[in-house]
């Protein structure tokens, strides 16, 4: 009995069902992803890469929202840091790993600095601050022509080979090899995050989400833990962004725009906040729905937003998760009313 408790993983409540997804299914999915290049054409492969990248982006975002209780509207800023950082390096050193790693670190440093200024605040103040900082990065990408290429962005970024001197050198010019690179990197990142959310640190973050005032009385510095979570989310956004330039061969300012920050928000809301895998399912849904709508109208974002809204309203889990901050205090109040103060 005691063991089953201890062995249970993931966020509780709506995540309970997650533990029941048989490992077999998960493995089948991974095998399928590895076989994909042999089964489908380039377009599906290209879409799958974007789904994987958005998954990583959204998982990082949900470390803040679902686990720590912080809604960030500026994640695209860090995504762009990753993309521009990687692009800049690749234009100088045509080697994949240094590009990706620098992109990640660049985003991480930005997240650490901006996080320091944001984590003092919560709720709407936090959301607004992150939105502002995200847009600051956007205007930086837009205006700092000499560094970023302005509205033209950076172009002609090579899909550089994966090289480790003396060990291996894999050509990436074909889509297939780069697909495997993205797949493996994303899977590793996802596994690592799964590890983190189920660690003592991950549990402590959930404590912060549930009650800030209480967690201070367990000796935890809320600010420090929030800052770490914010930085990890920034690193994940950076990784997602860094995978873009070799894929698209170009990076442009809209990567940092707030409408791009909305993508992980929508993916996470679609998939569910309180499950580890929610953002991954959401990223898949996001691209499938978008792919369908784009065929009919260029205003896909409006329609997608409407669909997300409808889904979230229709799904009880979604509503509860959004209004968590209001609902839980309300429930507490009901308890408190029952007792003389």
């Amino acid at each position: 009995m005691g063991k089953s408790m201890i062995e249970r993983k993931g966020i509780s409540l709506f995540g309970r069902a997650y533990g029941k997804i048989p490992t077999v299914l998960l493995l089948a999915l991974i095998v399928f992803l590895f076989l994909l290049p042999h089964l489908v054409g380039k377009y599906v492969m290209y879409m799958t890469m974007h789904i994987l990248i958005l998954s990583v982006f959204s998982l990082g975002f949900n470390l803040l929202l679902g686990y720590t209780g912080l809604l960030s509207f500026g994640q695209a800023g860090f995504y762009a840091c990753g993309a521009y950082g990687c692009a800049k390096i690749l234009l100088v050193i045509p080697s994949l790993l240094p590009g990706i790693i620098c992109g990640i670190l660049f985003a991480g440093v930005f997240a650490l600095i901006l996080g320091f200024l944001c984590i003092r605040h919560t709720r709407i103040y936090f959301a607004m601050l992150t939105l502002c900082f995200g847009m600051m990065i956007y205007s930086l990408a837009w205006k700092w022509r000499t560094m970023t290429g302005g509205d033209d962005g950076l172009i002609g970024i090579p899909r550089a080979p994966l090289e480790i001197p003396g060990i291996l050198s894999i050509d990436m010019s074909g889509m297939g090899n780069y697909y495997y690179f993205v797949l493996i990197v994303c899977l590793l990142a996802i596994m690592l995050l799964y590890r983190i959310v189920n660690s003592p640190f991950g549990l402590t973050l959930q404590g912060i989400r549930d009650s800030e005032s209480r967690i201070a009385f367990t000796g935890i510095s809320v600010k420090n833990y929030r800052l770490i979570a914010f930085t990890i989310a920034g690193l994940y956004a950076g990784l997602a962004g860094a995978l873009i330039p070799p894929l698209e061969n170009t990076v442009t300012p809209p990567l940092a725009h707030w409408t791009h920050s909305a993508e992980p928000v929508m993916a996470t809301l679609l998939g569910g906040i309180y499950t580890f895998s929610g953002p991954i399912a959401g990223a898949f849904l996001f691209y499938v729905i978008k792919d369908i709508i784009v065929r009919f109208t260029e205003y896909w974002l409006i329609w997608l937003g409407a669909i997300v809204l409808a889904l979230v309203m229709g799904l009880p889990g979604g509503v509860v998760s959004i209004f968590q901050r209001r609902l839980i205090p309300w429930i507490r109040l009901q308890f408190a009313k029952g007792s003389p103060r």
């Binding site: 201890i6 590890r195 189920n198 003592p200 408190a336 003389p340």
Partner: protein
């Protein structure tokens, strides 16, 4: 007797309303103290100041001889101060087990382990098991805290507080809204922990039976100040206290 916590002229006002009015008090080790007083006397506010939940307007606080006036809550906790809350303050979306696990992880300096599994820390698991069994929540360890009954939530509230193994622990109305059976459970736990763990409890309580059966010392607050302080027998006979409580009752009757 060894001094644990001492204040000098502690004050706090909300706007023009003075909730705590230059309180100078000290708490000694192993003396179970109850703080009583009518509603709005400033008891909870005093605890908030002592634990760092609220910033004070003026005054100083010392814990075991060292000044802690400007130290944030989480640092005070690390030094040995704990509390429970009058209004339920647990981790509602986590299980009972996890609720207790968080403070234990922090106590054993394991909260910053990023990559290890939760069950990798045997000593944490054992400690959580011990606490949950002691307070009688072991059978409900897998229940989400938000879904517990009111009484069990109060028990959990206390469990989280004691899981940090504080030397000095404030309990703000630990038995409020409980039925007599649950009340006994809480009181047993307080007595046992005082003895076994040498935790010094400071309790805010409205139930006079509880107060007089449990306390070594009683502090009476009224309008932000301390109007009486002494052994239970002395407080029973205290004229000021009688007036305050009699006054309250009269007011209630008039209303």
């Amino acid at each position: 007797m060894t001094e644990l916590l001492r204040t000098e002229d502690l004050s706090k006002a909300f706007g023009h309303f003075i909730a705590v009015d230059s309180v100078t008090i000290n708490f000694t080790m192993d003396t179970l103290t109850s703080i009583i007083g009518p509603n709005g006397a400033g008891k909870t506010t005093l605890i908030n100041l002592l634990t760092g939940s609220l910033p004070m307007d003026s005054g100083r606080i010392f814990f075991k001889g060292e000044e802690i006036t400007k130290i944030p809550t989480n640092e005070r906790v690390k030094r040995g101060i704990g509390r429970s809350f009058q209004i339920m303050n647990i981790f509602p979306m986590l299980t009972v087990f996890q609720n207790v696990q968080i403070p234990v992880l922090s106590l054993l300096n394991k909260s910053l382990k990023f990559f290890s599994r939760l069950d990798a820390h045997r000593e944490v698991i054992n400690e959580v098991e011990r606490i949950s069994k002691e307070v009688g929540l072991w059978d409900k360890r897998e229940v989400l805290a938000g879904e517990l009954s009111h009484g069990d939530q109060r028990l959990l509230e206390m469990s989280i507080a004691i899981a940090s193994q504080p030397e000095l622990c404030f309990l703000d109305e630990p038995t409020s809204g409980m039925n007599p059976r649950e009340r006994v459970k809480i009181l047993e736990n307080i007595r046992r922990l005082s003895k076994e763990r040498r935790t010094t409890f400071i309790i805010v309580e409205h139930d006079m039976d509880v107060v007089f059966s449990l306390s070594d010392r009683i502090v009476v607050m009224h309008r932000g100040g301390i109007i009486a302080d002494g052994k239970p027998d002395e407080i029973k006979e205290n004229q000021n206290v009688k007036e305050v409580y009699l006054g309250e009752e009269l007011e209630e009757e008039i209303i």
